[in-house]
Amino acid sequence: MQPFDLVLIWAFIIGFGIIMYVLMDGFDLGLGILFPFAPDDQARDVMMNSVAPVWDGNETWLVLGGAGLLAAFPLVYTIVLPALYIGVFLMLAGLIFRGVAFEFRFKANTSRYLWDWAFAGGSTVAAFAQGVVVGAYIQGFETANGVYVGGALDWLTPFTVLTGFGLMAGYALLGATWLILKSEGYIQAWAYRITLPLLFTVLAVFGAVSVWTPFIDEMVRDRWFSSLGVIWILPLLGLGCAFQIFRSVRHRFEGMPFVATMGLFIFTYLGLLVSRWPYVVPPDYTLWDAASAYDSQLFLLLGLLFVIPIVLIYTAWTYWVFRGKVRAGEGYH
């Protein structure tokens, strides 16, 4: 009856969806985090206009992450969301404010600065909350019989605060390197200037998280230090990307910093996945425990395999339509 193990395919798809979200919404949340520090209002216009046509699509990957988890690994959806109840609310509130800021800021004149703050504040809170989710995931959840039984604020620990700041710094780095790609003149010069300090912050926090993680959980320690030597390739590749960012900023390459930052994210993410594999709701439930019915996974998979390539094509097409530098005063809409 079950000729294939769909669970592995679905693990790959959900994993792909999540990293797509992190990379794509990452750079526009990152621009929001950098917003208050921009040299002037004109720079802020450029920053915002560089993502205005695509942010909605970027955020849709988050919705896919939510709906896809419900469809393929419902246990993750129904344990992680109750466990992070308050954190999820903060993230959503942040996303609401920054989402409407795109529309409202265009239409405001005297109240413009309010939406600048909504955009910056909303992006910062959302990024921090997402970093906390990562930390909470590494920590694990207290469950019994497939439901969360811990308290309302169990997720809030020094470790998760650290991962929260870590992801904020990471998103800011993505934002800065995106801006290098999309801007020119003094705005680009500013973006170049902040990239290296951001990179060092990111490396410091990621490093601290990596050192700390093995002490949180025995299984993770075992995985990294005794059983699986090959996985050390991931942090090494990550460091390679970091060096590439450093080098390409030095040489004033425009595209490479962004590409290398994406690489840094991907390898860190893979490192995180192998630490916990095959547990999706650590410490108790594996991918197979959390999976939905075979029929449901199959029903969705058939459509997905057909539709996702099309989605990727027209998403790429919109990026292509809006390719090139964004210039100050180039009012869209």
Binding site: D45, A52, P53, V54, D56, G57, T60, V63, L64, A67, G68, L69, L70, A71, A72, P74, Y77, T78, L81, P82, Y85, I86, V88, F89, L92, A93, L95, I96, G99, V100, E103, F104, F106, K107, N109, T110, V147, Y148, V149, G151, A152, S292, A293, D295, S296, F299, L300, L304, V307, V311, Y314, T315, W317, T318, V321, F322, G329, G331, Y332, H333
Partner: protein
């Protein structure tokens, strides 16, 4: 006093979903209207259509933005507050919501960018295609979400094994018995909403003598649409009710305020249902009419609330009055449509002040009718979450405390109040500026838009006026 997480979660869900629903019902209708305007302008090249579409696109952008952010909240509600329900129904709801994302939301989001920002970056035909794609996306979206919602009312195609729903027939589950009615009723409701808002705004401009030619065209179009849609909606609603009578008789009993199953049941124009005493006060009945409407027979038997024990009944007052609000407004819409027809025959529909004034007021009514309709449907399902199979109490998140639920409820109310007020404010500004070239009176306070204005030559010759109009007002005054 202990805070009850169940009540608080119900209030929260009702609040966030009602807030969300306001925007899609408007954008579904409006997206099709914009696609239509783009198509006509593409075909005829008459700049009036393009001006209209540019203007309504600006309105659309604001409303759509609010629809998106409130929708993102919705996709996490099931997990945060109703995790047991989510766990149980994931096998069905998960694929429905995921299909909605991959077939509709991505489509809308990608082409929305091109629709709003791409007018001078893509050829005209591609811009039209973007408008059509966005409109198509809104329909695909309602298809999936209403399949999911209808299934909660008339679950089919599933088996409950060890507390988890397993789908045994996808087509039965998706095309469950109430789905066709709900999909059609909601689709018409969206078009009515779009038509009434556009006609209300056009009427307002006509009253002030602004852009008479364009607004007259828009108003005429909308009045024809309403004339067809409003009566159709009433007929369809009647069928919807008959379907509910078959599958959820208790809900119909609550809508009718009927406590005892029996024949010759009157239609109540007014009453105050009393749950405790199991009766109504101050009834204003029309004898036997409910029997006639529901069974098409004066002596037909109509179900009463006595079919089920007290704790399986929905809150009757809410269902009863919400139903009357919706149907009352539906009848009012028909009356307005007929008045429009009479005035049109006399050639006066666009210059009769009292009629234009009433159209302005009417633009709010579809929103009220839609929310009232949803309240009938959803409250009428109580105490069931999945009708006859799972109650609301069973669906609640076990670890949720009253305090947590209260915190987020207040949080959402505050956030939405701020966002909604601001949204309404900017929307009214867009409407106020209207179709006219903004740069004349508004450029001074808009430092950000000089470029496009600079492209507009100050002395118009006939030919560059055309060209200017074709590049669209949306690019000129900014947004």
């Amino acid at each position: 006093m202990d805070l009850d997480p169940l009540i608080l979660s119900r209030i929260q869900f009702a609040f966030v979903v009602s807030f969300h629903a306001i925007f899609p019902v408007f954008t579904i209708g409006l997206a099709s209207f914009i696609a239509f305007l783009e198509a006509v302008s593409f075909k005829t090249g008459n700049p009036v259509w393009l001006r209209l579409s540019g203007f309504w696109t600006r309105v659309f952008a604001v409303v759509f933005g609010m629809g998106v952010v409130s929708g993102i909240v919705m996709s996490f509600q099931f997990g945060t507050n109703w995790s047991n329900f989510a766990r149980a129904s994931a096998n069905f709801l998960g694929p429905m919501l995921s299909y909605e994302v991959i077939t509709a939301f991505f489509l809308e989001a990608a082409f929305l960018g091109v629709l709003l920002f791409g007018r001078d970056k893509v050829p005209k035909g591609v811009h039209l295609l973007a408008a059509v794609m966005v409109a198509t996306g809104t329909f695909i979206s309602s298809f999936w979400i209403l399949a999911a919602n209808s299934w909660l009312h008339t679950p089919a195609g599933v088996e409950l094994r060890e507390g988890i729903f397993h789908v045994v027939s996808w087509s039965d589950a998706i095309f469950n018995p109430s789905f066709p009615y709900r999909f059609a009723h909601m689709g018409l409701a969206s078009f009515l909403t779009g038509a009434f808002v556009v006609s209300g705004v056009s009427a307002w401009y006509l009253l002030r003598g602004r852009e008479v030619e364009a607004n007259k065209k828009a108003l005429s179009l909308c009045l024809w649409l309403i004339l067809i849609l409003a009566p159709t909606q009433a007929v369809l609603g009647d069928f919807h009710g008959l379907n509910t009578l078959e599958h959820q008789p208790v809900k119909v009993a609550a809508m009718e305020g009927n406590w005892e199953t029996g024949t010759n049941v009157p239609l109540l124009l007014f009453a105050l249902p009393d749950n405790a005493a199991e009766t109504n006060h101050y009834e204003v009945p029309i004898p036997s009419l409910a029997s006639l409407i529901l069974t098409h027979d004066w002596n037909g038997e109509v179900p009463g609330l006595d079919l089920v024990p007290r704790d399986e009944r929905p809150p009757v007052v809410i269902v009863f009055w919400a139903f009357r609000a919706m149907v009352g407004l539906g009848l009012l819409m028909i009356a307005v449509a007929l008045t429009g027809l009479v005035l049109r025959v006399k050639g006066r529909f666009w210059r009769t002040p009292w009629f234009l004034q009433s159209l302005r007021v009417m633009s709010f009514t579809p929103f009220v009718a839609v929310l009232a309709g949803w309240i009938v449907t959803e409250t009428g399902r109580a105490p069931w979450l999945v009708y006859g199979m799972m109650t609301q109490a069973q669906g609640l998140t076990p670890s949720l405390t009253g305090g947590m639920a209260l915190f987020t409820l207040i949080g959402y109310i505050v956030v939405y109040a701020l966002v909604f007020t601001a949204g309404l404010y900017y929307l009214l500004r867009v409407l106020y500026v209207g179709l006219e070239d903004e740069q004349d009176d508004h450029e001074a306070d808009r430092p950000m838009r000089p470029l496009s204005a600079a492209h507009v030559p100050f002395e118009y010759s006939e030919s560059n006026r055309e060209a200017d109009a074709l590049s669209g007002p949306a690019n000129q005054g900014g947004h």
